[in-house]
Amino acid sequence: MQTRRTIIATALTASVFLAAPWATAQAADDTVLIPCVCELSGAGAVSGTNFRDGAHLAADEINAAGGILGKKIDMPDYDTQTDPQTSRALVQKAIDAGAYAIMGTVYSGSTIVNMLVAQQAGIPQFTGAEAPSITEKGNPYIFRTASSSAKGVPALTAYFKDTLNVKKIAVAWVNNEFGKGGHDVFIEEMKGAGIEVVADVPSEQGQADFAADVAKIKQSGAEAAFVYVNEEESARFLREAKKQGLDIPLVGEVTLTGQKVIDLAGGAAEGALAHVGLATSAPDPLFQDFVKKFHAKYNRDTDHNGIKGYIGVYAIKYVTEMVGEFDSQALADKLHGLTLKVADHPGLLLDTGWDETGEMLRPSFMTQVKDNQQVVIGMVPAN
């Protein structure tokens, strides 16, 4: 009797253990793994959190509508802590877990490091980073979710030259991969436009005191300043500029008029201008619908990084459906040189294309902060 019970118990236990991998495999067959490797803490937390939340919003919508080719998106989050080496390890971890494609990272300094891992594994990576160097390295698996500063900064040249009519300009930039890329493009552009750069002021990521930076710009005689720093530093810069009475147009690329900067700057962002590839304030029904959905889900507003995450996931969906199967290599191949019309692909919010380097091609916006809100004041065609 005792022996029979032992045999039955053993058989039941064995059947449970034998069934477990099958059940897991069944679950895995129903999902496609698209991990979000982004900056959820550290200096890039504002950007990374918005990017992650935008990506999850898209994934939830796609899953509710039946998924991609019948499979639900499984999107675990990996926090890089805004540390390049950690991000590299996490991209490897995501690939080891069986990622079909990877969302992130947002910071250029991290992306430059971790995209080599995804390249070696042949996994397409959708980055929110904007440093020009990212798509200049011949990596066939990297794709932007916003135009780089190599596209964005030149769009500002005409604004400085023709709209503001400045002859002398200052540049305040953050000394990291993101800032250096934009700074180098800006210096070249100003040289070409015949505008003299009279103050060139680098700052450190996470810098709190901008008194010296603003004082230098104020004394330089600049007629406008190009401010190219990350979100929190943008807010601190704007506060100090207001305190010291820096009474010249402050123009940024992407971050300066973001909602988080406006909130953190506490009124000091009023009047600031920026060219943005993606604007939550764009007077377009698709953009406004996205903004409403984001607010409804997270009970807060997002900045352009939320849009990056959102359109990145939709790009994966649309192109995978065009390919017709989950083949990472085919996804990457298909994306190069592809243009998707928003009429057929509303999740992309605007007509969107990627060139052979993975650079994004789409129209962009000039924005200004008015009454503590980012307002679109003009449209810039794709360049």
Binding site: V201, E204, A211, A212, K218, K242, Q244, L264
Partner: protein, 292 residues
């Protein structure tokens, strides 16, 4: 000239807050003969206590500030002393130093987990009004930051030198065994020191957060700069911490304006090396005994 004045005044304002944090290093060194590597996080955390009262409890600013001060004194003073310092103190300095590092990580990660990783806007304590001084623009907040810090150092010095409790704290710092024999309640004096340190950290937090914004990682930079300020000024002198803080604040701005912005973050470390080589006890420190 106005540019020079601008960066000096702004540097003094920032340096005065470094000084408040640096005084904490001095006090804890005197009370427990250890270095509190959680001092930066002690300055980071009170801002979140204030934000909890403001945003979650819906209290007015003055009540939120009072709440932040009281909770800081209880958590960073009383609890820190009872739960971390007292159990570790008999094991000499090194385990306690490591324990403070653990506390730093706990506070940082706790703030991140509880309030999120993003920087939070923090209300200014003073009006945004600015004054023109010799062509430089100085905000009321900057001036009051400097005045508050100077007043605190003056009041603390008077308290320690002119009151019976202050002299008992000094006696405990200099020689706890002899102070005990003379009837000084040394454990209570040590507790007072930790409570004062927590209150100063809360004050520094309230002054600096409108500029730094409230963020879980603020303590990293603040802690290092305040530690260096305390060593540069003299680790065993309160007025040394003040001088060290102001010096670093001003030199940081002068370096960024007239020498290099790229290497400005390295300046405090260069200053530290120079001071240690030239005057190991710090600018105003004494090389013998310990004095609060």
């Amino acid at each position: 000239m106005s540019e020079f004045l601008q960066v000096v005044l702004s540097g003094l304002a920032t340096g005065s807050i470094y000084a408040l944090a640096a005084i904490g290093f001095t006090l804890v060194w005197q009370a427990a003969q250890t270095v509190n590597f959680a001092q930066g996080e002690f300055v980071m955390l009170p801002a979140f206590f204030v934000l909890i009262a403001l945003n979650w409890l819906g209290w007015p600013l003055w009540a939120a500030l009072a709440f932040g001060l009281v909770i800081s004194v209880l958590v960073l003073g009383l609890l820190f002393k009872k739960l971390v310092v007292e159990p570790m103190l008999p094991n000499t300095g090194l385990p306690l130093i490591i324990a403070t590092m653990a506390v730093a990580i706990l506070l940082k990660e706790g703030a991140k987990e509880f309030y999120g990783a993003e920087a939070q806007p923090y209300p200014a304590l003073f009006p945004h009004t600015t004054l023109s001084v010799g062509g430089a623009v100085v905000s009321i907040q900057d001036i009051l930051n400097i005045l508050v810090s100077l007043s605190v150092v003056l009041a603390l010095t008077l308290f320690l030198d002119r009151t019976r409790t202050g002299r008992c704290i000094q006696a405990t710092a200099q020689n706890p065994a002899v102070a005990e024999i003379l009837g000084v309640k040394t454990r209570r004096m040590v507790l007072y020191t930790f409570l004062i340190n927590a209150a100063l950290a809360a004050l520094a937090s309230m002054l600096i957060s409108p500029v730094y914004l409230a963020k879980f990682s603020n303590g990293e930079t603040l802690g290092i700069v305040a530690f260096i300020a305390a060593i540069v000024g003299g680790f065993n002198q309160i007025r040394g911490a003040l001088v060290g803080g102001l010096l670093i604040g001003v030199l940081d701005n002068l370096t960024a304006t007239y020498v290099t912005t790229t290497y400005r973050a390295a300046l405090p470390l260069v200053l530290l090396i120079v001071i240690i080589l030239w005057r190991p006890q710090g600018l105003l420190g004494t090389s013998e005994g310990r004095q609060v």
